[in-house]
Symmetry: C2
Subunit: 267 residues, 2 copies
């Protein structure tokens, strides 16, 4: 039995460096398709185009226009493939419109050195059952954001006040994450996870859409099965923009992905 | 009188989207040309190609091969130019070899909103004259790294022990920075500054070259004249790679640039 997520990110090879995809309406949030899901579709096409280098080590995506559910294409230009890594440029298109243009370096995370030195501290979270599930969200919110049905998300209670009009003002959001369909995490799923939470500006009392200009994700290790912990934070809003840093930790307590995006401040 | 830095990053338009540059030997460090300087050359060509959008807001560079001093070309493909920002792809080439492939979004930092909310904390540094100048470095080190003559750099004494074989082990490095030629900082100089210090792995007791795979820089504000404070830190080394986060603060105490790179651990 296949998992929903795998069918939603599936790509078909049309010709050398050209893949077709079908952007699933289940990933809509508000008026657009979630940027993390789009990154996973694009990342899945890159994996298909780079045999022997299955894992995204780094991907930098520039969001040029809003995607719609439906057919899309990913065009890939391998820029360098030698040694242990390969670098490629990739465009996600719908018709004549480029939605995302990206650069990425892929490799094999199983071949890396064993030496791990981490001073980063795993976020302290209450157990999933002591956190706030998205199933508590009002029906009209859930209808506007079908993406919420894709995941089992449990928000840290300390930074969920924005949902009831009482943002903490800290610019932080954290949650437990797993796919609703039970599929275990892998490096491609991490690309979706780093941009799946609401904008961290909600916690600053600024509801509204915060369009991503640029997002770079680094996958630092293959995630262990089970729950992921995701933490978003911003430390600087200026000139109408803010950065959103994301960390993803796996069930073994390992930092498996880091990302930063530059986004426009909600109006 | 022109400044040295401006002549070193100068580009000449050859044709639509094609610029020539001359990589100056004064930016060599060890066997290669400093990646920050290369980013400033590439960033200067992008500025020339995007009239009305003078400032890099975000630039993501993937380093494909090591540059040599001498002639180079920057080929630019504008991917979207509409509204307040423009996004372009750019390659820095020498002969048939692509040295760097990059994506960037440019705009005008003077047009941004005035609202600034920063919870990031400016690094605490002793006064420049109480820090450690690079002029104290041994003659043979300075000969291997002519880049040291381009800047007036004063290292925080707490994290300079690596220079005498006593790294702190914290994975942190910070310094005061200004150009030796007296030119004041601007957004293009910030692109050089975010990758001008030695690898932060020196402070972990790992001397040696740490090749950058990917570096993304966000310029968050125009820097005020005078000294810049630069802080590098890493929190995770795994699978033979580490991230290096950089912050640049200006003399007015404002966070003017943030960057992160993914680099290979020194052997």
């Amino acid at each position: 039995m296949g998992h929903e997520f795998d069918s939603h990110i599936d790509v078909t090879r049309e010709s050398d460096g050209l893949y077709s995809a079908d952007l699933n309406a289940g990933w809509v949030v508000g008026g657009g398709v979630n940027g993390g899901y789009l990154l996973a579709v694009l990342g899945n096409a890159l994996r298909a185009a780079l045999p022997g280098k299955p894992d995204p080590l780094s991907i930098s995506a520039y969001y040029l226009s809003a995607s719609r559910p439906g057919p899309a294409q990913v065009a890939i230009d391998v820029r360098r493939d030698g040694g242990s890594v390969a670098t490629a440029a990739a465009d996600l298109r719908q018709g004549d419109d480029v939605r995302i243009t990206a650069l990425a370096t892929y490799g094999d995370l199983d071949l890396g050195a064993d030496d791990v030195r981490t001073t980063a501290v795993e976020p302290d979270m209450p157990a999933p059952d002591d956190c706030v599930p998205t199933t508590l969200a009002p029906e009209d919110v859930r209808r506007m954001a079908p993406i919420m049905e894709r995941f089992d998300i449990r928000f840290h209670p300390a930074n969920i006040g924005w949902a009831v009009g009482q943002p903490s003002g800290e610019g932080v959001m954290s949650a437990w994450f797993r796919l609703a369909d039970g599929r275990d995490p892998d490096p491609i799923l991490l690309l979706a996870i780093v941009d799946a939470l609401p904008p961290v500006t909600f916690d600053l009392g600024m509801p509204g859409w915060a369009p991503t200009l640029e997002l770079t994700a680094h996958v630092r290790a293959k995630p262990a099965p089970g729950w992921l912990k995701v933490r978003h934070a911003t430390r600087n809003m200026a000139g109408g923009m803010f950065e959103e840093d994301c960390e993803v930790w796996d069930s073994a307590g390992r930092l498996v992905a880091q990302s930063r995006q530059l986004a426009r401040q909600p109006r």
